[in-house]
């Protein structure tokens, strides 16, 4: 296709480039602050020695998790796209919830199902088929990652499939495409544009996964580089080594990200929600129902277990003043960081939509989006802490700002994976008309992009909001008894033998997340449709 002239929409290009530069600078500043601070302390030197081994195990685990997550995500999206049933929108709303819950919650949900005393074993025990503690180990790590990320990729894929223009579907139907042809000719090209971004995000998440790997890993045999970095900081206080290891991790992740973000096929298909429903033939639809039921059981059972375990104690938690304080803090921070994440995602996405496939700029604009995920959490939070000290503000005063910023940046890859492909598709599809009519950048947004982007933007907002709602990484360095979020409160309850309180807070978090995932996209669909 004819390219977009490189001097078109300079405003969007500058804004995108500045955002990318700012994020990259921030990461550099965090690392430099840490490295400089590290020079002040005598250290016995880091005792992290087995870096090669750690890299190999992390990469293997992450690659397996990514491939399986994408495949299950596709299967889920394919069945959900074809089937219509009561409660479908709730199921779709539930799909991303696992991803954004504190990992602690997901681990306990998984164990409630698959653990030694879990539901599966309780059902299988009379048959003499107990699975014992098989959830612990590499298999358990991968299972947990697939539950988290498979659901997320499914969610993105469903949105992409739903956006296939109805004329294409009508054409396919009149040509009498079989199920396989339909999938390869119509669905796959639509999904292909999203796969690299989603896969890169999932890979990074699994590569840097910390609590899940530690809890389900069964011990030091399954560990990630992230854990080693934690050791270098906490035990050895060798900040120089921590920075070097963080850079190693960044480089390895860059080797994954750069090809993924440069070479990803350009999204070419995009329309408003098509309201055409084209189900599969009866025998296939029946098979799809079975597949969907099995997948959903795997994905939703852990969440239902979390609800079931915590539901009884919710009343006790609701009367605690600290709970409401933490809830308010969580909501405010979640809202603000979601808005920030969307703003950053839109700025980068718009600029990237103007770049030709495979161009250097495309990589440059894509990298900051993911880079933040590749920086170890302990390095991030310490770096932020140091930067906060440099500004001369008390940690208590900057805590809200850091939380908002850090959570927005953490959610950025998800936001980007959600809104960049449709933005790009719109630009590619309409740029000639827009240029020919001399439509301004603002009107392009308000008349063309915004009305069609309601769903992805709504979902991106929801995911960013809930991401920060479930954050347990950043808050752990900035939380105090006065300044606390719901996950922090939950973690503290666990640390004080108050398992019931913790389970109740987990259930509350889950309910709020599901509500956010269902209501926010709906609200945006309404907002945008009202202007159609």
């Amino acid at each position: 296709m004819a390219g977009i002239p490189s001097n078109w929409r300079p405003g969007r290009r500058y804004v995108g480039a500045s955002v990318a530069a700012t994020v990259a600078l921030l990461i550099a500043a965090l690392l430099i602050a840490l490295w400089v601070a590290g020079q002040r302390f005598a250290t016995t030197g880091s005792s992290v020695t087995d870096i090669g081994y750690l890299l190999a195990t992390s990469a293997t685990q992450a690659a397996l998790s990514t491939v399986l997550s994408i495949l299950t995500g596709m299967a889920l999206a394919w069945t959900l796209d074809r089937l219509r049933f009561a409660g479908r929108s709730i199921v779709i709303g539930l799909l991303s919830t696992a991803l954004v819950m504190p990992s602690l919650v997901i681990v306990s949900g998984l164990l409630a199902i698959w653990g030694r005393n879990g539901w599966v074993n309780v059902l299988l025990a009379p048959l003499g088929l107990e699975t014992g503690s098989s959830i612990f180990g590499l298999g358990g790590i991968i299972a947990a990652h697939v539950v988290l990320n498979g659901a997320f990729s499914a969610r993105i894929f469903i949105d992409r499939l739903a956006a296939i223009p109805s004329e294409k579907l009508k054409l396919g139907r009149s040509l009498g495409l079989g199920p396989l042809q339909r999938f390869t000719i119509i669905d796959l090209p639509t999904l292909a544009a999203s796969i690299p971004g989603v896969a890169a995000t999932i890979f990074l998440l699994c590569f840097t996964s910390f609590p899940i790997v530690l809890t389900l890993g069964g011990g030091p045999a399954n560990q990630t580089l992230e854990v080693a970095i934690y050791q270098a900081v906490r035990l050895d206080f060798d900040l120089g080594a921590a920075v070097s290891l963080a850079i190693v991790q960044l480089v390895v992740c860059a080797a994954i990200i750069i090809p993924a973000s440069t070479l990803s096929p350009a999204a070419s298909l995009f329309g408003a929600q098509s309201h055409i429903h084209w189900p599969e033939r009866r025998w296939l639809a029946a098979a799809q129902r079975v597949v969907l039921a099995i997948l959903l059981a795997g994905f939703l059972a852990p969440l239902i277990a979390v609800l079931a375990e915590g539901f009884g104690a919710i009343a006790n938690v609701l009367v605690q003043a600290t709970f409401w304080q933490a809830a308010l803090t969580s909501l405010v921070i979640g809202t603000l960081s979601a808005l920030l994440a969307i703003a950053l995602g839109l700025a980068l996405g718009m600029a990237r939509a103007l770049q030709a496939r495979g161009s250097l700029w495309r990589a440059v604009l894509g990298f900051p989006v993911f880079a933040y995920l590749a920086v170890p959490a302990v390095v991030l939070s310490l770096g932020f802490f140091l930067l906060a000290r440099l500004t001369g503000l008390a940690p208590a005063a900057v805590a809200p700002i850091v939380l908002i910023l850090a959570n927005a940046l953490l959610a950025l890859p998800f936001v980007f994976a959600t809104i960049a492909p449709p933005l790009e598709a719109l630009t590619r599809r309409h740029h000639r008309v827009i240029r020919a009519l001399g439509i301004s950048s603002f009107r392009q947004w308000s008349r063309i992009e915004w009305p069609l982007l309601g769903q992805p933007v709504g979902y991106a907002l929801a995911i960013a909001f809930v991401f920060s709602l479930g954050d347990l990484g950043v808050i752990s360095l900035f939380g105090t008894s006065e300044f606390s979020t719901l996950p922090w409160l939950m973690y503290r309850a666990l640390g004080a033998y108050r398992t019931n309180d913790a389970e109740a807070i987990a259930a509350v978090l889950l309910i709020v997340s599901v509500a956010a995932f269902i209501l926010i996209p709906k609200l945006f669909e309404k907002l945008t449709n009202a202007r159609n």
Binding site: A37, R40, F41, S47, L104, V107, S108, L111, A112, G115, R116, N117, G132, S133, F136, F210, P211, L214, T215, L216, G217, G218, G219, P220, Q231, V233, R234, L235, D236, F237, L328, T329, V332, T335, L336, L339, L382, F385, R389, A394, P395, A396, A397, A399, P400, I401, S476, L477, G479, T480, S481, F483, Y491, R492, L494, G495, A496, Y497, R498, T499
Partner: protein
């Protein structure tokens, strides 16, 4: 509607930020004593609030607890901040990490005449003041396990599907405690004990909370915790099914300590607080919020529930300098068996 929401969010956030900035201004006539500690200590259900109330009633000052994930993180945070740190006291290091603390050079001598402590050793340290103590032990559920093992050898001899859950020594105090416990008992032979334990280790969690949760949900038969953990279930939940398994060869001791930073402008006040911490009044909240033994008879006596805990004698403790010098090597030795 959305505009309104954003506006109200903005005002509440400003309130949060301004509130945080205004706090020091309100308390200007009173000095503020800042104690960095681990989170469970500062939490609402920890000892922090009661100590704050008790000490502020007599000191004409404001006592603030600032919490980090764990005591080592609190120490690292003060280290990073250098002379600019707000911390006057770091509270929560223990006998296994005192050496790390001293190596930072941040602390100054407490210069207090300490009372006679009721702890398993003669306290001679000039820098740190002990405030509570406990012993590491494996906790089990007596409803599903009738005869718990009484030694590491017995534990190793159990079938492979008998699972224990332990913590990562690099991020958790009990996790490090187990390394030292086995080392104190077996010395050179520690690695063989770890070899034997390996098949029983269900998983190694990063913190105590995750592991205890795994145990409570029935994933493991025993969890590495404290001899006093059952006291919580007994006193707070009226539940006596959880017990600590008594090992005849003895249990490793953990004494928690607090120390004053040399950079603190409030040396006098900091000393007052440490002195208060080791009075019967200061000790009173500790047993039933921190679930450890007090270092001397607390005001109002010790809850009789504690009398039902196992006798941990002989209490084991390695020399602090030896621990600091060898911690990494011992962790490496233990972990090599788990890979």
């Amino acid at each position: 509607m959305r505009k309104l929401m954003i506006a109200s969010v903005r005002t509440s956030l400003c309130a949060v930020v301004l509130g945080a900035l205004a706090l020091p201004a309100i308390a200007q006539d009173n000095p503020t004593l800042t104690v960095y500690t681990y989170d469970a200590f500062a939490a609402d259900w920890g000892p922090g609030p009661a100590l704050k109330q008790g000490f502020e009633a007599q000191c004409e000052c404001t006592l603030d607890f600032v919490s980090a994930n764990d005591s080592i993180s609190a120490l690292r945070r003060a280290q990073l901040e250098g002379d600019a740190t707000d911390a006057d006291i770091i509270l929560g290091l223990d006998t296994a990490t005192i050496g790390e603390g001293k190596a930072t050079g941040l602390f100054t001598e407490h210069q207090l005449d300490l009372p006679d402590f009721d702890i398993p050793l003669e306290w001679t340290d000039d820098v740190f003041v002990p405030f509570d103590y406990g012993y590491f032990a494996f906790v089990y559920d007596s409803q599903s396990l009738s005869t718990p093992p009484t030694s590491f050898e017995e534990l190793i001899a159990l079938p492979d599907d008998f699972k224990i859950v332990i913590q990562d020594p690099r991020s958790s105090t009990p996790g490090l405690g187990l390394i030292l416990w086995i080392k104190a008992l077996y010395g050179e032979g520690a690695v063989d004990i770890w070899e034997g334990l390996a098949p029983h280790v269900l998983t190694v969690t990063s913190g105590w909370s995750e592991s205890y949760d795994l145990f409570l949900s029935g994933e493991a038969d025993m969890v590495l915790s404290y001899t006093t953990s059952p006291a919580y279930h007994l006193i707070a939940e009226d539940e006596d099914r959880y017990r600590a398994a008594r090992f005849d060869a003895g249990h490793y001791t953990q004494i928690e300590v607090a120390g004053i930073l040399a950079s603190s402008p409030n040396q006098e006040l900091a000393r007052d607080f440490l002195a208060y911490l080791v009075t019967p009044e200061g000790q009173a909240p500790l047993p039933e919020t921190n679930w450890m033994y007090p270092v001397l008879e607390p005001q109002g006596g010790l809850n009789p529930g504690f009398a039902e805990m196992i006798d941990p004698q002989p209490a084991l403790l390695l020399d602090a300098e030896e621990v600091t010098a060898n911690t990494r090597a011992w962790i490496e030795e233990a972990f090599s068996t788990l890979r």
